[in-house]
């Protein structure tokens, strides 16, 4: 991860965990109250995604990225516990960018608003935690050739012009 440079495009094959607003809130609450976490953060990749319901005969429904900046306030504790990468859309706060550098993580973006296209790269979906959150639950996804663009590299370089939210 730490060798990737901002702007670089890669195809990722491996595992991801989906988590968005409410799952982040719960993870961080669990960390603060010293409770065990439903996923191992060390070395993991979190994908900011809440898929549609799965149509019959398919592995997953439409599954594109959601706005990453909404997760900024919850990201530092996760990076501290070893989260290695995040996938979403849009810019990150200066605090998150600094933490990405500090903990040698990476922030990727993927095709936004292309949830139907991205279903083709998902090979398996397993519910892991917070089932009551429905589309906001944590799922483990096995992906093949998932398209990623390095938006913030481990040196803290960002692909976005400063000033964008």
């Amino acid at each position: 991860m730490r060798h990737l440079k901002v702007g670089e495009e890669i195809s990722y094959t491996g595992k991801l965990y989906t988590a968005r607003d409410q799952a982040h809130k719960r993870l961080v609450e669990a960390i603060h109250s010293h409770k065990s976490l439903p996923i191992e953060l060390k070395g993991s990749i979190i994908y900011y995604c809440g898929p549609t319901e799965t149509p019959r005969g398919k592995i997953i429904g439409s599954c594109g990225p959601t706005t990453s900046s909404r997760m900024d306030g919850f990201t530092l504790p996760l990076l501290k516990l070893g989260l290695s990468a995040m996938i979403g859309k849009g810019n990150r706060s200066p605090e998150v960018i600094a933490a990405i550098r500090k903990y040698q993580a990476v922030y990727f973006v993927t095709y936004s608003g292309c949830g139907a296209l991205l279903t083709r790269q998902i090979k398996k979906k397993t519910l892991v935690a917070y089932a009551d959150l429905g589309p906001e639950a944590i799922y483990e996804l096995e992906v093949k050739d998932f398209p990623l663009i390095v938006a913030v590299d481990s040196q803290g370089n960002s692909i976005y012009k400063p000033g964008f939210c």
Partner: protein
């Protein structure tokens, strides 16, 4: 009076939910294709191709164009000679959307309480509570909760026209309104709009379509901005022109100036930041000049049915 059964309204709403979410509007798809033809930045071209490809896959495989299937906003033009029998208009629309969202596997993105965030409108299918069809029709039992926002207008005639705009919140979150002084210049208004687009940046999934409401009251300008997104989008080549020449000129100028920001698809640069600017205006008070901007992502979805 012409009678229209509530069941028909329900079925139309169900069809609209699926059509709007599976099939990208032709004017939007055409605008994307014409943007691709003009785009010179390699990455922007690649992203535009992915967006067009995504629309084709969604249509073919009956998948949502975007997983954010939005908060459904319905615009109803109700003919004053039409009468709904066997149920209420609002009930029939809500029930129809519920059916359409369930049958189409569209995400229930609505929470009942905006503060506690509780009581979400979805049924957790994945949590081992898979709903079983209650009868031979194969229709899943309904959660009875899909609170559309419904704007109705009474018009001449005996027909009912329903337009559904499922609005995703990545871009809705970036929408803005400002109450200008009546003496404000066009330049000040333009600056406000350009700043709103810059603030939306990569988060709101550019290339955008902009709905702008000018005039009326604060709430009416916001309504017009949203309603403007229903209109076919225009670009420099388009034959559709706003009948108001001053407004038409503003639309064209804004489109050009927004594209000069070079935010580009996904905010990663390029010529294509905006696919179209649609303005609706209305008379206003001598003391004010409300301007509202409703930003749509590139997946501007809507569908229309006339009953």
């Amino acid at each position: 009076m012409r009678e229209i059964k509530a069941d028909k309204v329900r079925d139309a709403a169900a069809d609209l939910a699926k059509e709007a979410n599976f099939v990208l509007r032709k004017d939007v798809l055409d605008a994307l294709k014409s943007a691709l033809a003009k785009e010179t930045d390699n990455r922007a071209r690649k992203i535009l191709k992915a967006i067009i490809n995504n629309a084709e896959i969604a249509k073919k495989e009956k998948l949502a164009i975007c997983q954010d299937t939005g908060l459904p906003v319905v615009f109803g033009e109700i003919g004053q000679e039409a009468r709904i029998t066997g149920g209420s208009l609002q009930g029939a629309i809500s029930q129809g959307l519920e059916l359409g969202y369930a049958r189409g596997n569209l995400r229930r993105s609505i929470v009942k309480d905006p503060l506690s965030r509780g009581g979400s409108g979805f049924t957790p299918l994945e949590a081992g509570c898979r709903r079983q069809p209650s009868d031979a029709s194969g229709v899943l039992p309904l959660t009875g909760f899909i609170p559309a926002i419904i704007h109705t207008e009474i018009v001449k005639g005996d027909k009912i026209k329903l337009s559904l705009l499922p609005k995703g919140f990545g871009c809705e979150n970036k929408s803005q309104i400002r109450m200008f002084k009546p003496t404000a210049s066009i330049e000040e208004i333009k600056r406000f709009i350009l700043e709103a687009v810059e603030k939306a940046g990569p988060d709101a999934c550019p290339p955008f379509v902009l709905g702008i409401g000018i005039g009326g009251t604060q709430d009416y300008a916001a309504f017009l901005a949203k309603k403007a997104l229903l209109n076919k989008i225009k670009n420099q080549k388009s034959k559709i022109k706003n009948t108001n020449q001053k407004i038409y000129k503003l639309e064209i100028e804004l489109l050009k100036e927004i594209n000069n920001l070079r935010i580009g698809p996904m905010g990663l640069g390029g010529k294509t930041t905006c696919l179209g600017v649609n303005i609706l205006s209305y008379p206003t008070h001598i003391a004010g000049l409300p301007v509202a901007i409703n930003i749509s992502c590139h997946a501007l979805r809507s569908a229309v049915k006339i009953l």
